[in-house]
Subunit: 251 residues, 2 copies
DNA sequence: CCTCACTGAGTACGCTGTACGAAGTAACTG
DNA sequence: CAGTTACTTCGTACAGCGTACTCAGTGAGG
């Protein structure tokens, strides 16, 4: 399936939605729903069953209303995802950390990681032009504050933050998807490699691709061992932060 | 939309498909198609119109056959994407670079970037358990060869390669998506920010989120300027490689 | 009380992946 | 040679999707 695009609708409508600026109607019957209730239901489904299960009809069922009713509150599915995303962002702790930029960026990465683990469907949402809701803005502000005043230009600050975010996104995605594949197929990585070793051998795997088969086997075994998956995360994060540190040292 | 998952079908069937191991039938009419022709057509559609446009019916139309005909050659859409992916990987130059690990990893990143720019739909394919076709294996082997023998453990080698790949994936995705949004909406980042400045001001943007609005504005202007988009890529890549360099230095 | 903005939701359209089964083709067997 | 049988193509169908359109019912303002 293709990625779900956030912000595919009218940006102005999205912003109104995100900031809760809606001219309240005076006439007519009281609305039975609120955007908040819809978002809560949608989040519950997405958290539990993934983004694919979160269809408009499904959310409507959950709320005991007709499918088309949701369109009275939300312009479309894209905008609903926008609000879901901003809502999740708004619930981040954004803890203030005493220490240097490195300690702060570390916390930024850690909070993002927790968020993705809690809401794995976020990994499937493409945030090209992020919905500038209060949650997204607050998160961005928090991230930038970690690298403010350490000698980077504005563009570099954005790039550094993007670098960390990109790393976390990629790292968590690998881990989550590996876990999901194991859960859905009931086959661990090791078992999978072992099952296909005969075929791969016949192809000439170990001869043509000596490094790939050596490293692949090692990594596969490592991953299946009762293994603290945050090890790999820490390793990569340290490298990313080292890279930023090296840049600062040059100045 | 949700991400398209590769390799959702029977792994054994996928492998047979990827390596072209198919027991040829003797009886019955000659097949009108080949897997190769199907993949070529699918790639043409995906490259030109994105992964969302690449439906089974669309590919079948392109080939002038009924939709269900494709299922005689390919178990399902997931496996088709597997083969598409491996095919693209197989076309990578994988240039041998004279120089140290850094020069080699640089080339690895550059080739990946070119690949993503040429086949943007790859950014939407989730490669959790990569289809171990010849292309994927060759690429992995090539990547590992860049960091072989420089003092990393097998697991670290894999992590280093994953780090670079993850960075490239994230960086190119941001750039491509930004460009796609501009093309589809006809609005540049700058125009978008300017259009919503009044609303954001009313909300108290600049007061509540001083860093975000300052940096956001700067970055927006920078991006719209006739700007070599590889600048940002180079910056981030340099940071990633610096990080790996720092690890090697500690040893 | 009437008006009319507003809400809820049934129906329908075009799209998706793919299971099933019927019909046609060509090579092997008797 | 005919008969069998493996194999191909593909029309039909099903369950699901997002959402446009339409219309009946509601309830506050004039």
């Amino acid at each position: 399936m293709v990625q779900e695009y956030s912000g595919s609708g009218d940006p102005a409508k999205s912003l109104e939605l995100l900031w809760g600026i809606q001219a309240k109607p005076t006439r007519g019957p009281k609305p039975a729903l609120t955007v908040g209730r819809i978002v809560t239901a949608a989040l519950r489904i997405a958290d539990a069953e993934g983004l694919a299960a979160m269809s408009i009809r499904r959310v409507a069922d959950e709320l005991g209303v007709g499918a088309m009713t949701l369109y009275r509150y939300v312009p479309g599915k894209g905008e609903l995802i926008d609000v879901m995303l901003d809502t999740v962002y708004r619930e981040l702790p954004l803890r203030e950390v005493d220490g240097d930029w490195r300690a702060k960026l570390d916390e930024v990465a850690r909070e993002s990681r927790e968020m993705y683990l809690k809401h794995p469907w976020l990994l499937q949402v493409a945030v090209s032009r992020p919905p500038l809701g209060p949650g997204v803005m607050a998160k961005y502000e928090y991230e930038l504050s970690a690298v403010e005043g350490i000698g980077l230009t504005d563009v570099e600050m954005d790039a550094a933050v993007a670098l960390v975010n990109g790393y976390v996104h990629g790292a968590v995605r690998s881990a989550v998807e590996a876990a999901q594949v194991i859960r859905s197929s009931g086959i661990t990585d090791k078992e999978w490699w072992e099952a296909h070793e005969p075929l791969l051998d016949k192809i000439g795997d170990t001869k043509k691709f000596p490094l790939a088969s050596r490293v692949g086997t090692t990594v596969g075994q490592e991953f299946d061992a009762p293994y603290d998956s945050s090890h790999a995360f820490e390793f990569g994060l340290a490298r990313v932060l080292d890279g930023i540190a090296a840049l600062l040292k040059d100045r």
